[in-house]
């Protein structure tokens, strides 16, 4: 068994090294302490609510959130707005519904069961309004980028004047964390851009962190349940493994062979 573990360990080490080396070739992202990291990680409720506000007031004019519904805002493990708050949020949007009895499409206030209203009718309209670049849907964005939350968090703060020798076309901006350093989204955040109702100072860093936290939740709405269940499952498995180990020793003690 010793040999078995030694070899398994070496191979695991090799794979660990591979995963690390894949990460190492990328740029160093800005770091911050995420409350949802680690086996006991949870979302910071207030950060999620603030993050929703940043998304709503800043991002949502271009970026859709098509897999999220207003009801999700109420659900456990998310921003946990009250039902009234979420209903009010939903009702502040106009949703196209129909056709009605006369065969006409009509607009009505949003309901909890509605998906987040899209900023543009379709992808082409989004491209036309943004100089040909399609602002990606944000629901699973943090999972769709190599650096995950650190990448998004850094990107939002990564705008700089282009270094000498780099020329940018109209409507293209320089961002030191963007792949290829050229991005069609202009710098969106500036100090005090939003007014947080809980009195938190809306610095660029704070807004970047809040909205990234929100995006982590939209990508992984069941993250808290997953962490909690994982802990229980692994503790259960470890206890069972120990019990089975001693049963095995007992059974194998009937014969003179080590196990």
């Amino acid at each position: 068994m010793k040999n078995f573990f030694r070899i398994s360990f070496l191979i695991a080490l090799f794979f660990g090294f591979q995963l690390n080396s894949n990460a190492a070739e990328k740029v160093e992202y800005l770091k911050t302490d995420w409350s949802f990291k680690g086996p006991f990680g949870k979302f910071d409720r207030a950060a999620l609510q603030r993050g929703y506000q940043v998304y709503q007031e800043v991002c949502s004019s271009c970026h859709s959130m098509k897999y999220l519904s207003y009801r999700n805002l109420v659900e456990e493990g998310g921003p946990e707005f009250s039902v009234e708050q979420a209903k009010a949020i939903a009702a502040s949007f106009e949703v196209k519904d129909g056709p009605n009895a006369d065969g006409e499409m009509f607009m009505r206030p949003g309901r909890l069961s509605d998906k987040f209203v899209m900023p543009y009718e379709n992808e082409k309209a989004a491209q036309a309004a943004n100089g040909g670049a399609y602002p990606p849907d944000m629901t699973v964005l943090v999972k769709a980028r190599g650096g995950g939350v650190d990448y998004i968090y850094s990107l939002l703060q990564g705008y700089e004047d282009p270094p000498a020798g780099v020329t940018l076309d109209d409507g293209v901006y320089y961002n030191k964390y963007m792949y290829g350093n050229k991005i069609k989204m202009s710098n969106q955040l500036s100090d005090g851009l939003v007014e947080y109702s809980d009195g938190t100072n809306a610095s660029i860093e704070q807004m970047a962190k809040d909205v990234t936290t929100f995006l982590m939740w939209t990508a992984e709405p069941h993250l808290e349940t997953r962490h909690k269940m994982g802990f229980k499952a692994i503790v259960y498995l470890i206890i069972l493994t120990v019990l089975v180990y001693f049963s095995m020793k007992r059974i194998w003690s009937r014969i003179e062979t080590k196990v």
């Binding site: 999972k143 709405p221 498995l237 049963s247 095995m248 062979t257």
Partner: protein, 421 residues
Amino acid sequence: MSEHEYTPKSKVGKWFNDRLPLLTLANHLTDYPTPKNLNYWWTFGGILTFCLITQIVTGLVLAMHYIAHADMAFQSVEHIMRDVNYGWLIRYIHANGASMFFLAVYIHIFRSLFYGSYKSPREVIWIIGIIIYLLMMAAAFLGYVLPWGQMSFWGATVITNLFSAIPLVGEGIVTWLWGGYSVDNPTLTRFFTLHYLIPFLILGLVVLHIWALHVPGNNNPIGIDIKKPSKDTVPFHPYIVIKDGFALLMFMIVFAFFVFYTPNILGHADNYIEANPLVTPAHIVPEWYLLPFYAILRSVPDKLLGVIAMLSAILILAALPWLDTSKIRSAVFRPLYKQFYWILVADVLILGYVGAMPAEGLYLLIARIATAYYFLHFLVVLPILGFKERTTPVPLSITEPILGGSPNFATVKKKDSFKDQ
């Protein structure tokens, strides 16, 4: 296989067993004499069975909620992740389950390579195993296409395009596979159908694999033939059942860690971007378990020869029982083979590493050397080693490993003892 003189105790049992000897089968499985010196590398057969069942069960549930349509597949996967009760759990088990399945199968295969389990009289078990492995790769590839993300789409494009390397009919075959002139909805629906079919083919082959195993019985770390049953063996139940169970639980802890804490680390971020035929990802890479073969494919400059090299790299394993000319099974008694074995392990790991890297410069050079060595190991080293190597004395039985006999004697003994069974 020894004849079973088994009579059920109850009248009903006897009545039934005379018509369908299921109870005899159950009795054979519990009593099955297993070498008592099997180490933990032997527990991966049971672990693999668990993996297969897990994939089938979670896959069935996923298929109830998944929609195989180019416009809806990605969205339906998000629906599973968000709105289906514990859908995220089922999907993460299924996605990481594929990786765990391959992890286990690679250990299983390399165990066989080390202890010479593929040698006579176990060639058929080995060949069925290679077919299962091929089907696993097909199933994994097809399954990776179903979420219809960017890597799904472009992976499917790259792999199906390999068939275009076939002279004359290649292009026609690719169009036929796609069901059109590019990877699109018809491709997705047929991939879904095949992804659903293959696991059941694997299940059937697993039954054959185990059946074929139960004819000569397990190989063992010493690699000698043993009398069954004897003091060298233990009944499968409870000895091996509890030991396999213990190993399975440890495996499940690792599995659970991936599912609950790093469910996406083995996947590629690009697969959370919906498939877009107009945007090609910067690097198209397959899942980690296919990387060594991907490296072999890319290390050959010619497309057709590359495809042939990749396929040969797998199929050469089927010829292994005849390429390895040594009469001694276990590497324990083969000092030279043992060293070449570890070089091969390193070689495959290196191939996996360069498979993940862009095919250029130093990486390409390393890939070419590693590919050449891979074939050299099977085609040159193994056949010669069997004749040249001075093996160390092989014990005559498991219980008396100290009393050495000559390897030749052990070989002579082998044939007779096999006939006895």
